[in-house]
């Protein structure tokens, strides 16, 4: 059985890499073998950050450079990412999960289901409490909407409860989770959702 492929998208600075840094120890604790593919514009910045973190062997972290708008390599032509995932599966047949982090992009960014089996979109309170109401395709179509930096909502004048309510209203029955990567809150809930919906382990 191949590894589950899970996308993590969202705007620049929302905390995608920070979320991966929090997910990796929880996944490891549960014995879920994981690898990561990062997408950056023209650098390996996010991959290098994860390698320095040491939570995974360095060769389980691959970097893809989009060269242009990051959504092009996760939606219009995800060939580079599919090849990277195939390579990881071939080198590490024990993998249960490959996380594919998108480069930072706007609210219109979505993942091709040719590339991933399931994907989450990350926004954060500092980006503005009105983000869910803007009905961006990323917010609407993802399998899980993560609202990060819940701990700083009072400091950026955002009514977190209202933001969550707005997100639930535009997404209907699809789930919304408010988390704080800095305080490590609700990270286990994301992993539970992943296990139930796509990892099946």
């Amino acid at each position: 059985m191949t590894a589950a492929r899970v996308g993590i998208g969202g705007p620049v600075g929302c905390g995608k890499t920070a979320l991966i840094e929090q997910l990796l120890p929880e996944l490891a604790r549960l014995g879920i073998e994981t690898a990561v593919i990062t997408n950056d514009l023209v650098t390996d910045e996010d991959a290098e950050r994860l390698r320095k973190g040491g939570q995974l062997p360095a060769n389980r972290i691959l970097a893809v450079q989009a060269g242009a708008c990051p959504h092009t390599v996760i939606r219009e032509d995800p060939t580079l990412n599919m090849a990277a995932a195939d390579r990881l599966e071939a080198e590490f047949p024990e993998l249960d999960l490959i996380l594919i982090e998108s480069g930072g992009d706007n609210l219109a960014s979505t993942f091709s289901l040719d590339l991933v089996d399931w994907w989450m979109f990350v926004i954060d309170v500092a980006g503005g409490g009105d983000i869910p109401r803007k009905n961006g395709p990323g917010v609407l179509q993802c399998d899980l909407l993560v609202i990060n930096k819940s701990d700083i909502a009072p400091h950026v004048d955002v009514d977190l409860d209202q933001m969550i309510a707005d997100a639930k209203q535009v997404r209907g029955p699809k789930p919304v989770l408010a988390v704080s990567c800095r305080e490590r809150s609700r990270i286990a809930d994301i992993v539970s959702q992943l296990r139930r919906d796509v990892i099946f382990a």
């Binding site: 589950a4 089996d117 399931w118």
Partner: protein
Amino acid sequence: MTAASISTKVMKLTSIEGSFNADLHDIVHALEHKGQVEFVHVSQADAARKRLRAETDKGREVQIVLPRSASIKDGAVVHLSEDLAIVLRVDTGARMVLVPHDIQSAMRLGHWCGNLHWKVEFNAGSMSVQLDGPEGQYRARLQDLESLADFHIDESAS
């Protein structure tokens, strides 16, 4: 027979055995007469997935994990044994048919829909858009185009 691992609660289905609409029709149809066929309804959007947690029409939870080379089509049989078949039914989904009135408008329309990342099928003289959300959202985007291209929505085909 299918490579499925069966537990008391959840079935993991890992291959497509054939099609209820083609090669396996007679076998599955015979099981259907005995009430031994369960259907999983999959939306057009979800049909692109290789992994899917779903429930059959009889309430059985299934985990579908297909090879990367497989693709979900209507009628795909994902489990077949002597006393049970599980068949995927792909909803054709809502669509909107756009009809350009001249070549220039057709080019404008195609470019516009491409910019919006809509999923479309090209037919003779028209373009069929797959609606992944409320129809009103699609109509709202087309209003912006009305002054730039001459086209209409084929209401009889939607």
